[in-house]
Amino acid sequence: MPVPTGSQTQSQTQSQPHGVLQGYDPGGFFCELLRPGQPTHPALSLLLSRLSALPIESLRRRAADAERDLLERGITFTVYSDATAIDRILPFDLIPRVLTPPEWQQIETGVIQRVRALNMFLYDIYHERKILKDGIIPSELVLGNAGYCQAMVGFDVPFNTYVHVCGTDIVRDETGKFMVLEDNARTPSGVAYVVENRHMTLRVFSDLMTGLKVRGVDEYGLRLHNAMAEIAPPGVSDPQVVVLSPGIFNSAYFEHVFLAREMGIPLVEGRDLTVESGKVWMRTTAGLAPVHTIYRRIGDDFLDPDAFNPDSMLGVRGLIEAWRRGTVAIANAVGTGVADDKAVYAYMPRIIKYYLSEEPILPNVDTRICAEPDALQYTLDHLAELVVKPVAESGGYGLIIGPHASRAELEDFRARLIANPSNYISQETLKLSVSPTLCEDGVKPRHIDLRPFAVTGKDTWVLPGGLTRVALRAGTLVVNSSQGGGSKDTWVLA
């Protein structure tokens, strides 16, 4: 049987024997609540004792309340819902994920550092390309990348900020070490759930939070609006910001609504905007009104049929030309996809060192670039233990997970890897940290990750918290919503 540190053991055994944590055993994984080997924190101990004293029936009742609430808001899909439930929220698990002040300090500074490096990298590759000339990262990897945008070459953006909203996917290994798994520098989603999950906790589980100092998450809209106003064209005193959405049938529409509400600005679609006299306007009840900053939640390809995909019905004709004239700001900038590419990710530690002369505060998951001979040799020697990913592919196509592969599959893959090593990177198979999660058979350890959101105008601000996704199926490491993933409220202790 489990159980962590002395004092926690006592509180658990002294209180209700049928508490929700009875029989909870994280095994060899790092548990975000019990935290073996980590310094304890009074708030965590209190939370642990409250959960230990809570009957499982109470947790289930609250979970049912939360589920009904989500259903009524039309922001969930459950076994009860019909096929027309188009707002999809990650199922919500009530047991929060907690981050202590020192942990948050590392995440916050690490994310800020990473966003700075991403923006400096983007500026460089669309201007002098020093990093390519210095041979830090292969030119063809950047210039031949699908996310590299020719239209951005030589174009300046305010404060040299390209990635105004960044979602950094962070995981912890079995020792509790934080590592970045992925950068999301295009239009990362999930921030609405950060705030909605907090509201849900307060609605159905506020007694769990009583007396604990947890940092608020309500500032996001204000901070984002300020950043959007900062990047607006100069000379506009009260800039008009809009959220540009693909429309009500988009799976992230719920979040677009959230963003517009939180910023107090119109939620528009491409058909609500028009470009005239080199400027962007929105169609209002008073006629055309000027638009100064567009927080767009549609991909580069669909922004402007004149500049990119000519078949796009979602965008605004002439938008990119207006942007290049400096009459409107677009966030995130076009052409950021190259920076969150899988292959470029492998170079991030070097990119950080190159521009900032600093060690990464948040390390990458140990990644080997098979184009390099030593890395290739290591990968070939440890193929059965590693995850090997093709750099050009996305969505897991052509990837091999060594421990799950058959002997024949490994040999087949080995041949492909030797034939074209520069097409691959390899990573250790991760033992993701776990968090106690309500399942059908009680509270069980389930793997989680974390996506904090960083907002950058002139400076970078990180929302204290982030989206904690949880893999609801036993054993699975995949936290995607389409793969049975859920989400948790994320508490950053003050």
Partner: protein, 321 residues
């Protein structure tokens, strides 16, 4: 109190959505009223003819006859309560209302959205068992009460900027339109009788007509002595105290249009205000009394066309851009 000058823009498409959201919700209530009152008060006379009056009111006779051999509680109930292929059923209305509410989700209150979403779920879950004779009134009550809850939540939570004005205009347009339809069909049905003599008019029919419009008790209070066709017509068309009278709804519409002009400086109200002015000139006690002598039905058609015209004027004026 000083006037607040509102500067936040309203996207033209959202104004149109607000108008439609209110219209569809109001339509659900009116449909439920009509079905309920038909079910309750029109049983004694020719049952089929009474049920047929419902599709007639809504201009659905052709579609109804195509899919149903005869009018009865079961067929008309199915057509209006369950049939998603009928563009005037409550199923169609609530789906359209919810879609408009989704479009407006960043603007309407969370409570409004929540209620519409839950209401949508209840309507979509209706089955033939729910509209069987022993449940029919209960379903109609549920529909009425839920739309009234919507109306109340809107009154109590929707911020009163431009979007509220468009919402209210949608409600008043739909109410005015529904009242003319109600009056038209009933007059049509009753015509041979009241041409003969007022005394021969079936009191139950007048009763049903006024009850469908939720005006029965108010009418009794104004006219304790009995029913006179021109009085009923005036009550539904010109009365300025009865919440569902055409005249009152148009007066409220005018107020909202004027607000959009004066408080928001919008110039799109001109055509609608001109049309309202014309319509007001026709909706006098005197004129309605004259019309009841036999020309009311063409006049009601005219009013319906003018109401459709008002809707179009509003869209052209504010959302045409």
């Amino acid at each position: 109190m000083s006037e607040t000058l509102h500067t936040a823009h309203l996207i033209a498409r959202h104004a149109e959505s607000a108008l439609w959201l209110a219209r569809y919700m109001e339509r659900v209530e009116n449909t439920a009223r009509l079905l309920d009152v038909t079910n309750t008060f029109a049983r004694d006379a020719d049952d089929a003819r009474n049920w047929l009056s419902v599709p007639r009111i809504n201009g659905d006779l052709e579609l109804f006859n195509k899919t149903h051999a005869q009018a009865s509680q079961a067929t008309v109930g199915n057509f209006y309560l369950l049939d998603s292929d009928n563009p005037t059923s409550v199923q169609t209305a609530i789906v359209a209302a919810r879609e408009n509410a989704r479009t407006l989700r960043a603007i309407i209150s969370t409570e409004m959205w929540l209620q519409i979403n839950v209401f949508h779920g209840r309507i979509r879950a209706l089955t033939p068992a729910n509209i069987a004779p022993d449940h029919f009134t209960a379903v109609c009550s549920m529909l009425k009460e839920s739309t009234q809850a919507h109306t109340g939540i809107t009154e109590g939570t929707l911020y009163r900027d431009q979007a509220w004005h468009f919402t209210m205009m949608g409600r008043y347009l739909e109410r005015a339109d529904q009242t003319t339809r109600l009056l038209d069909t009933r007059f049509h049905a009753l015509a041979p009788q009241f041409e003969a003599s007022d005394e021969e008019i079936d009191a139950g029919q007048w009763n049903a007509l006024l009850r469908a419009a939720a005006g029965y008790h108010a009418y009794r209070r104004e006219h304790p002595s009995g029913y006179a066709p021109q009085e009923v017509a005036r009550f539904l068309l010109v009365n300025t105290a009865f919440p569902r009278s055409v005249g009152l709804n148009l007066a409220q519409l005018e107020w909202h249009l004027t607000q959009l002009r004066t408080r928001y400086g919008l110039r799109g109200a001109t055509a609608a205000l001109e049309r309202l002015d014309q319509l007001d000139g026709m909706l006098t006690h005197q004129h309605v009394a004259e019309l009841v002598a036999g020309r009311l039905s063409p006049f009601l058609d005219y009013v319906q066309r003018q109401i459709a015209g008002l809707h179009a004027d509003i869209i052209d004026g504010f959302c045409g851009g």
